[in-house]
């Protein structure tokens, strides 16, 4: 894999970002609408830290939103 791209999984779908990309970039790429929350590699990342959270190759990003539940 070339180091000119950063492969990640967003909600288990493969995507590529540029090296140095942050969680904020991944959120923008996914195009999710608020409200939602994010986790990287099963660790919660607060909304206030998206722009500081630098991603690594093969990070697994989860973006989840409200849904009905019992």
């Amino acid at each position: 894999m070339s180091d000119t791209v950063l492969p990640v999984l967003i909600n288990q779908v493969p995507h590529t970002l540029t090296p140095g990309a942050t969680l904020a970039d991944a959120v923008a790429l996914a195009g999710v609408q608020p409200p939602f929350a994010a986790a990287v590699n099963l660790q919660f990342v607060p909304r206030s830290q998206y722009a500081q959270h630098v991603l690594n190759a093969h990070d697994q990003i989860e973006l989840i939103a409200p849904i009905t539940g019992g």
Binding site: A39, R47, G70
Partner: protein, 268 residues
């Protein structure tokens, strides 16, 4: 006349009071409109909700549900449905806290996908870590007395034993266990899962349970709005009966009409 819990007898959980003893799930209704009417009819203390990956058209459904929650103006109880590990449950709870802006969490930690039985071995650890993180944890659990005691030991101020597996509608399948649990533990207890009829809800409330949490029994009724009202009435009836104190059952007949002065009576 009101179907709401009298203000003199509120449900108290983690120091907060609720003027209803019915918690209502939001899933599987025929339409959002029917869900909203069921909420209005039953006036629940809390509404359960969940979190799932947002994809394509799912984004619109999520937005619609979010708007419905805001319109309902009922406190939200997020759940960790579908989590199979302690870390999954904790991360989901943290995400729910940010999205729903609440410390309440219905802790679901599934140990068996077929029965949706809680992971009884790891539930106390998950509850303990969430409580340490500042959550108000309502754990979905089996009716096992020792497990529920362990949940209280780690700081749960309420527990939610099942009546039967989720979505079965069977009603209390082990009345002895539920009644023993009620007698042994002093914390508020909410029967969560497995209720199918208002009489089931009334029964567990008569036993002294503090509240019930329902979803499928209302959502899959032919008339969910009417059934929501029936459950609300049953919960209130059961609570009133518990507070009133039931008579002791007798083995032999006891005439309720005075015998003295019975007409046409004569000594044999």
């Amino acid at each position: 006349m009101t179907t709401h819990t009298p203000h003199a007898d509120p449900l108290t959980l983690y120091g907060e009071t609720f003027h209803s003893r019915l918690l209502l799930g939001t899933s599987r209704y025929p339409s959002p409109s029917v869900l909203l009417q069921a909420i209005e009819r039953s006036q629940p203390a809390m509404l359960t909700a969940s979190l799932r990956r947002q994809t394509g058209s799912g984004g619109e459904a999520s937005q619609s549900f979010w708007n419905l929650l805001r319109q309902a103006k009922v406190p939200v109880l997020p759940n960790t449905a579908g989590c199979h590990s302690v870390q999954e449950a904790i991360t989901t709870a943290e995400m729910a806290r940010e999205v729903f802006e609440t410390d309440w969490i219905k802790l679901e930690l599934i140990g068996d996908d077929y029965t949706l039985q809680p992971d009884t071995l790891h539930l106390p650890e998950a509850a303990s870590r969430l409580i340490q993180a500042g959550f108000k944890v309502l754990p979905y659990t089996t009716d096992d007395l020792v497990l529920c005691q362990r949940l209280v030991d780690v700081g749960c101020q309420a527990v939610m034993p099942w009546a039967a597996p989720i979505g079965t509608g069977k009603g209390p399948i082990n009345p002895h266990a539920l009644r023993t649990l009620r007698e042994r533990l002093d914390v508020p207890m909410i029967v969560d899962a497995g209720l199918g009829l208002p009489s089931h809800a009334c029964q567990v409330m008569e036993w002294g349970y503090d509240a019930v949490l329902l979803n499928t029994a209302v959502a899959l009724a032919q008339d969910p709005v009417r059934m929501a009202g029936a459950f609300a009435d049953a919960v209130n009836a059961g609570r009133a009966a518990f507070c009133a104190g039931a008579m002791q059952a007798q083995d032999s007949a006891q005439p309720s009409t005075p015998v003295l002065g019975t007409p046409f009576w004569h000594q044999a």
